[in-house]
Amino acid sequence: MPDEVDGDLLERFAHGDQDAFESLFRQFEHEVYGWILRIVRDANAAEDALVEAFWRAYRGRARFDSSRSFGAWMRRIATNAALDQLRVARRDALRLGNDTSRSAPAPASDSLRESIQIAFGRLPPKLHIVAALALIEEQSYAEIAEALDLPIGTVKSRVFRATRALREELARLGIRV
């Protein structure tokens, strides 16, 4: 994320200046949107999470340390907003009864690709997020760890668990990888 942000701008943002907030929004919206989209993989959900993330940033502006990276702080907030978006999507799917994690048809006649998409969709949000970022988007463990505010070791462990969960899910669908 671009982080050559004027210190004065950050100070004004931290004190609630709306123009400073808009300026930061314009500067960071594309990068934040891209990061969220990599996690939620749905343009509408990504836009909702983007709005939510910037609102949370504005609400938490007093806690922002203007001597630190605004981009890293914003990415952490955006990651949490995206994670919440994944949880909501999962809950909605459960409520509507079209949850792929429980009611997907046996994929005997489905394509391998569809089965993998189903298995990926069944990952719990915490594993889904690291699988999306590390395995698909090939983001570095360090970057993911910073965004999730977790130690790198925890990220590696979740990637391992996500891979194992994917393999188990595919096995349940009758596919051995």
């Binding site: 709306q18 808009e22 929004f25 314009r26 919206e29 594309h30 949107y33 891209g34 989209l37 990599r38 993989r41 343009a43 990504a46 836009e47 983007l50 709005v51 939510e52 910037f54 609102w55 504005y58 609400r59 391998l112 690709r113 569809e114 993998i116 998409q117 990926f120 699988a131 999306a132 395995l135 698909i136 988007e137 090939e138 891979t163 994917l166 393999r167 595919l170 990888v177």
Partner: protein, 70 residues
Amino acid sequence: MTEDTRLLALLRSAVPPVVTAGPSRDLWPLVVKQSQERPEWSWLDVGLAAGVIIALLIWPELLMLLAYHF
């Protein structure tokens, strides 16, 4: 090709990396609307603050415990 490499290759072909072009519309007005409509303090925040104040009134010695954490 190891099992993991094969799984990764299959995963990436089924769920390819996203190509981002930015939001489809200007989202700033929605951010402004949200920050005007949603209170910065939720009922949960207010409830927690009230709980802490009441607890401090009942057990003033808890102040030392709170002070320790700040």
